[in-house]
């Protein structure tokens, strides 16, 4: 089981790296917002796997909070874009 968890952590870290490439390269601000949302979703998965590995169920609460923050950040960025805030793509 530990091997499986290690493999899945490596795969998700690779996913985080690929997402970060899009955050850096992203031609416009909405692309970066989408990438940041995927970032938070991947971190939720990592926290869930770590809860299984360490056998501590309280990490799932942290996963809930991270998912909530990612959603609110996406909504806030979208409103910022629609109101026409200053942008530096």
């Amino acid at each position: 089981m530990d091997t499986v968890i290690l493999i899945s952590q490596v795969i998700m870290s690779l996913a985080l790296i690929l997402t970060f490439v899009r955050v850096v390269r992203g031609p416009s601000l909405p692309d970066r917002v989408v990438a940041l949302e995927l970032f938070s979703t991947t971190v939720v998965g990592l926290v869930g796997v770590y809860a299984i590995k360490s056998n501590v169920a309280s990490f799932l609460d942290a996963a809930i909070v991270i998912a909530l923050m990612g959603f609110l950040a996406a909504i806030a960025f979208a409103r910022f874009l629609e109101r026409g805030g200053p942008r530096d793509d």
Partner: protein, 134 residues
Amino acid sequence: MIDFIKGTLIIGGALFMLLASVGLLRLPDLLTRMHATTKAAALGVILIMLAAAMHFAEVGIVARSFAIIVFILMTAPVAAHVIGRAGYFVGSKLWSGTVKDELRPNYDPLTHELKSGLETQENAKRQPRETDPD
């Protein structure tokens, strides 16, 4: 046996997340990237949370992981819709191979006014009738 199912769910979830990030990196414009990330990443989180529920197998923790699943299923489409709307609003470019953009003829990017396509003189003067549906 339960370890095998758990391992399959964890690896499957991680692979779906990798697939989402590859789609985010490879696809050409904002809408196609969003289509890759929302669905694949939500499915990845769902699989991993199912594995967590099977691992702990207590009522409170199973309820908590199902709460995460329901929360992801409710928020991912809303966030994608809002970001896609904002992206069209600020005029992000569509892919050159896009076949159809039904919003373009009815949408004015300067005033952000949306037409229905039925603005005629006759419709502007029309009064409500008894037979109209509510």
